[in-house]
Symmetry: C2
Subunit: 788 residues, 2 copies
């Protein structure tokens, strides 16, 4: 940890470093695994660091607020009806394109995985049929190592942000946190190819999480008109050059991704709504639904196309869908007991998984920080271990005779996906463990979910399967390849469910396959803590509505049990990465603190004058990292009533806009306000939407330093404000509900000489961890009620 904090040292200003030292002395936890990976100062600071793709980066907040300055007003006043229609048309076109492209790329990924993994497995089956088991092992392991290598090298060298599922970062983005390089073109391509490689390599990870990320990347790239360096300069796209519209697009993209992963359009929309999105509007629900509808149509068209056999090995498998609609489900009131048991154990296992994964991820991030070679070696080790287990363990299982009711093509199955793999067994016999292990992950799920096969799997085989995938599920997720969490959890859960089904065989007549489905659902709910969206996703996967009531009960119980132990896996990852995610509920002790007290703990607020000297602006921009500055006018005579001179709070100006003003050299020789026509001539709204500049890139001559800038036209005159007596709890509700970046604190006293702004609140100031380090006494009263 020592090296880590010294890495950060450069980025921190002096008072932060002091805080860091103080923090270290106070911290009683000496075990490095218990410390947060990222430390922050104990006074409130606006420095924000986060783990982005196992690297520490600066992160920025997003501006969802409509920046109502003169230029903006001019711009939208001048928008004609035609332009409004352009905007609406483009909004829907983009939603359509997001759906279309996500659907196409999902099909492509499925096709590639099924074919690569399929031909790999075919070759091994041929070797095994010739009883050349060792050759088969070499071939299997070699192919898997190669595929893992491709995925890992791409991830490590070109796009570290493509590793992992990406869902926590999307969640943070939609909460208002911009993690750099998350939605770029490179990230997307690495994610696509890496995902194909990693899943084909038989690693215990899914393509579902990555698909959500890919959907979001597509949305983001479409919205900005292409990759960063080769943007399309189409005039219409300027409407989407703001954080609000990008947020909506990315929500569409995330939903489309889930929909493409599970072929679940309603589930996709609900997943975004329940798990990913922070802000949500009815209009967005509708647009998201449109995107997922397009995805489903694309997927269906391709499935029809592939059913005719033109897609290689695809068509028989791929696009997981565990259709159990032909199973007649009979259950009675007494079946509530096994169902409740599934839920309770699922909840316990899920939270245990969260706990252990947290430890493993901390360990891995220590390894990953050591450099690229370590990352690569970790990936290859995991791949080697996975391959060895998948190939070696089936030898432990006893061969079982095929059921006489099955035809010879059904059992044993060789050379295609399906139940009853022969592996090392004589003809007419099958190896049940090979059925589960030596296959693609999608097929493994389909096999273990299979209904009306109550005696297919031996208890010992299921135990080995469950134990193996518990270990793999813990140790695979953190490696530097694109990896989803859904499939590993489904595999673990289905193994556990089917085991439980065997144990309860005498008490209930619920099918074994349904036990597996319910087990998977319970573990998902126990780990991810979603309810309605998971329920709908499982409904759409299994295509059987009669299953709905028991699925609901399982999910509710598992989530309740899990919630009593620890937070959801996504929250754990968000916390590990140090992303400043704002929770929906304020902590109860926040009611005991006013924003005024919070502002006192921060360095004093830096305000600018309405007409400010260039030198001061440059100075302020160089020496602070703030992104917003209140603009205050002294000695103004208010229009009515009072004759004395007053101080006027004109609004707030953004760093980006100040930089634009400096760059465009919009200087005045004398201290005066500019006329409206001057403003219209010099600036357009398009200029202000650019955010890429840095103060170091702006050159200001020394004679220009003595000139003035009129900030009035650039100032957002309608900032959100709170009184200094407002409690932090209520300020946080406001901040999150409205989606703010800056919140001005105004004094509750009115008198001559009182400054019109007491302070500024940002996202970092409202994080419980940051507040508690600055006000440690609040932690003692922490035990109270979690606000409604």
């Amino acid at each position: 940890m020592e090296e880590e904090s010294s890495q950060f040292a450069e980025a921190m200003t002096t008072h932060n470093m002091e805080g860091e030292t103080y923090e270290k002395e106070r911290d009683p936890e000496s075990n490095p695994l218990n410390q947060p990976l990222l430390k922050r100062s104990c006074t409130l600071s606006s420095n924000s660091l986060a783990m982005v793709g196992a690297k520490v980066s600066f992160i920025e907040s997003l501006d969802y607020e409509i920046n109502e300055n003169n230029l903006f007003k001019d711009d939208w006043r001048s928008r004609s009806k035609v332009q409004v229609l352009q905007y609406i048309f483009l909004k829907w076109t983009l939603a359509f394109l997001v759906g279309l492209l996500t659907g196409l790329i999902a099909t492509l990924i499925n096709l590639a995985i099924e074919n690569i993994a399929g031909y790999k497995l075919l070759a091994i089956v041929h070797l095994i049929q010739k009883r050349r088991f060792f050759m088969g092992f070499i071939y299997f392991t070699g192919a898997n190592l190669l595929l893992t290598m491709v995925a890992a090298v791409l991830c490590v060298c070109f796009a570290p942000t493509a590793a992992g599922p990406g869902i926590p970062e999307i969640k943070a983005y939609l909460n208002g946190v911009d993690t750099p390089n998350m939605f770029g073109a490179t990230t997307m391509f690495v994610k696509i190819i890496g995902s194909i490689g990693a899943v084909s390599a038989g690693l215990d990870l899914g393509k579902e999480g990555p698909l959500v990320h890919i959907g979001s990347c597509i949305a983001s790239l479409l919205g900005q008109g292409g990759p960063n360096n080769y943007r399309l300069k189409w005039r219409w796209l300027r409407y989407f050059n703001n954080d609000r519209d990008r947020r909506d697009l990315i929500t569409c993209g995330a939903s489309s991704g889930v929909c493409a992963a599970f072929r679940a359009p309603v589930g996709g929309v609900l997943f975004s709504l329940e798990e990913v999105a922070t802000w949500w509007r009815s209009a967005l629900l509708w647009r998201t639904f449109f995107s997922t509808a397009v995805v489903v149509v694309v997927l269906r068209a391709f499935i029809e196309l592939c059913n005719s056999g033109e897609c290689g090995l695809f068509g028989t498998g791929g696009l997981i869908m565990f259709d159990v609609s032909n199973v007649t489900i009979r259950y009675h009131v007494m079946d509530i007991i096994p169902v409740a048991v599934i839920g309770i154990i699922g909840g316990v296992l899920g939270s245990l998984y969260n706990y252990l994964l947290h430890k493993v991820l901390r360990l891995y991030s220590l390894i990953n920080q050591k450099g690229r070679i370590h990352k690569l070696l970790l990936c290859l080790t995991v791949s080697l271990f996975t391959s060895a287990c998948q190939y070696g363990l089936p030898f432990l299982a006893k061969c079982r005779p095929c059921d006489s009711s099955l035809s010879e093509t059904e059992c044993p199955t060789n050379g295609r996906s399906g139940n009853f793999k022969q592996f090392n067994c004589p003809d007419g016999y099958y190896n049940d463990l090979a059925t589960l292990l030596l296959t693609t992950i999608d097929d493994a799920v389909r096999n273990i979910f299979s209904t009306n096969t109550p005696y297919e799997y031996q208890t010992s085989s299921l135990l080995i399967f469950f134990a193996l995938y518990c270990i793999l599920g813990l140790f695979t997720f953190g490696i530097a390849v694109p990896s989803g969490l859904f499939l590993p959890i489904i595999l673990m859960g289905s193994g556990y469910g089917r085991l439980l089904g065997i144990a309860m065989r005498s008490y209930t007549n619920i099918d074994q396959g349904l036990f597996a489905v319910l087990g998977a659902a319970s573990l998902m709910a126990g780990s991810m803590r979603m309810t309605v969206s998971l329920c709908v996703i499982f409904l759409e996967l299994t295509n059987n509505l009669l299953l709905l009531p028991i699925t609901m009960i399982v999910l509710l119980i598992a989530k309740t049990v899990g919630d009593s132990f620890n937070p959801s896996i996504y929250e754990i990852i968000l916390h590990l990465k140090g992303l400043p995610f704002l929770d929906a509920h304020p902590e109860p002790w926040m009611r005991n603190l006013t924003v005024g007290e919070l502002a006192d703990a921060k360095p004093p607020v830096i305000t600018l004058h309405g007409v400010e000297r260039v030198a001061r602006i440059v100075d302020v921009l160089r020496n602070t990292t703030h992104n917003g500055f209140p603009v205050v006018d002294d000695g103004v005579v208010p229009p009515v009533g009072i004759s004395t001179e007053a101080t006027e709070l004109h609004g707030i100006i953004l760093r980006a806009h100040l930089l634009q003003a400096l760059k465009k050299k919009w200087f005045l020789r004398e201290k005066r306000r500019t006329e409206e026509w001057e403003v219209r001539e010099k600036f357009t709204w398009v200029d202000l939407a650019e955010r890429e500049e840095k103060i170091e890139q702006v050159a200001v001559m020394s004679d220009e330093m003595e000139m003035y800038i009129d900030l009035h036209p650039l100032t957002n005159t309608t900032p959100y404000t709170v009184l200094e007596s407002m409690s932090v709890a209520k300020a946080m509700v406001l901040f999150r509900q409205v989606g703010l970046r800056h919140l001005l604190i105004v004094p509750k006293y009115v008198a001559a000489g009182v400054p019109p702004v007491v302070g500024i609140l940002t996202r970092q100031d409202l994080r419980p961890y940051n507040i508690l380090t600055a006000f440690p006494h609040l932690a003692r009263s922490k035990g109270g009620e979690k606000g409604n």
Copy 2:
């Protein structure tokens, strides 16, 4: 209309009356059908009137804000962990009870309707079999009139608010508008019995809307511990004696109602989310889902019980569920054309229906205002017309021979629910129009949705059916009985869909029954403008996932087409009733107006001092109808910095709390601040939660008038504020997102003598209609972009 406004005159203060007159002169629309039913003044006022159950009543806003005053802080600081657990336990218990009771009452209603309507129809079938047609008509009409009479008399005399669906009022409640007598015990009982009567009477209305209302009533009654006059004084229930927790409970109740109506748990949750609720939190999603799960379990248990035949005629019908899961759905890319046609026509018809229903409702409200007798007569006329058509029209249809593939028990069907009713036909023949008309409404839907019966209905019969239900759908909804909108629209839509199916028979091989389902979906989307929730409800009703993609496309097209003509039917009803519903999107012209300008158009704000004379408080309460007053302290010396005296904005105090202070006679002889121990002794948080008092009921002696009250402990010290330069658009976003009742406007100038509060914004001030009457010039620039 003249009488109407004179009715209001008493309730209006002088300046409002002036506004009213001005308004009348300006209004160019002379047709009374085009005028809004309720008029408001042209200066901004806080008077609020709405149509509640065809009567004009005063309505209040709800306080969702946490009122952070000293008492509240004491209260929650003193809450121990046990109390927090009590609260959580009770929250879930209430959610469970809401689900349980809604499920039970829904079953009861279904049982009653099926049995009453069933025995009625049985008797008529017996008469018809004896060819005593006229006797049958008398019997049919008489029974229907009697049942309608029961429903109507109950509604008119005991609970006018029980008429109609209740969904618009629930929507308004969850938006923050409290309509009186909406959730009382009387309303609930009248709604239950009225709904049974009205549906059994064969009127063209459903029990779905009323079930939603009943669910909400149950939730509200449980939350407050029983009916108004006989409340349970259980200590635990005090946690729920606030608007926030009631809001959550009622959301649960509404979801449970939809779930009970359609046996669609996920659909119920989504319906609340998409259509009914304004604020939504992830935690609420989960609790609502729990309630609907309970409802489903209750319904299933009863269906199992009734399948054994112990529920009279129930068990064969009831609880609409149009299971088409056994239909193999095959569709190709070219089927998109008929699907798109269904959507487009459905959208047009839906918006046409909205338009016409608007006119009819306006006409009806003019009739209903004339008195109870008129209301009753209207109900009976509609019932008579319905009965006559349902009985008479089938004689127009030709008898058709039964298909030879059907057994004799299947065709013709007599004496039970099912297709192929015999009616006036000879044996071996059936009357297709009687199948659709002379049956319960649920059965009619099931019959017209029936699949694999492509030649059952003649085009002429379907045309008659469609035309009849269009007329009935328009003229039944507004009468004074509990009535839902879902079923009438489904009936219309299914008729239209099946007609379209016949017209397209040669182009596509989509089943006729599916055409009926899609037609119903398209008309629902065209009129109600829901997408995801309708999609899920239809999915859960039809139990066939393969239908999902085409349902989605139909819904999206129909909603888009409908939206281009007029708002949704619920918005139309909200507008008609004059409920001050706050839309999610500010109007574009709101960006051109600041809240400061808005405040100038209102009468000056009335502030109280921190320690105020009793006489002034009584005076203020008597002469204004405001519900919140800013509390301001003059001549305070701020703790730091400035030596001069300042004016301090201490917070906002609610009318209810002032009344409590007066009632409890918490007076001080001298002008001083009270000590904390005094506060704790005299007041508890429970007292402050009471809202029932009126100033007229509080007696203050004349010697007490000269005493003082210290308002500090009762004042909410953390009100939400906006700067006077904030645009109305942004203030409205804040108001709605955070769920406020009062929003203080603070000055942007700081100087001695500036008042610390410029004005107060309430819900009424932010309504577009009210703003436009005060600032007519804004209407001209109305055409701009609808803010994203």
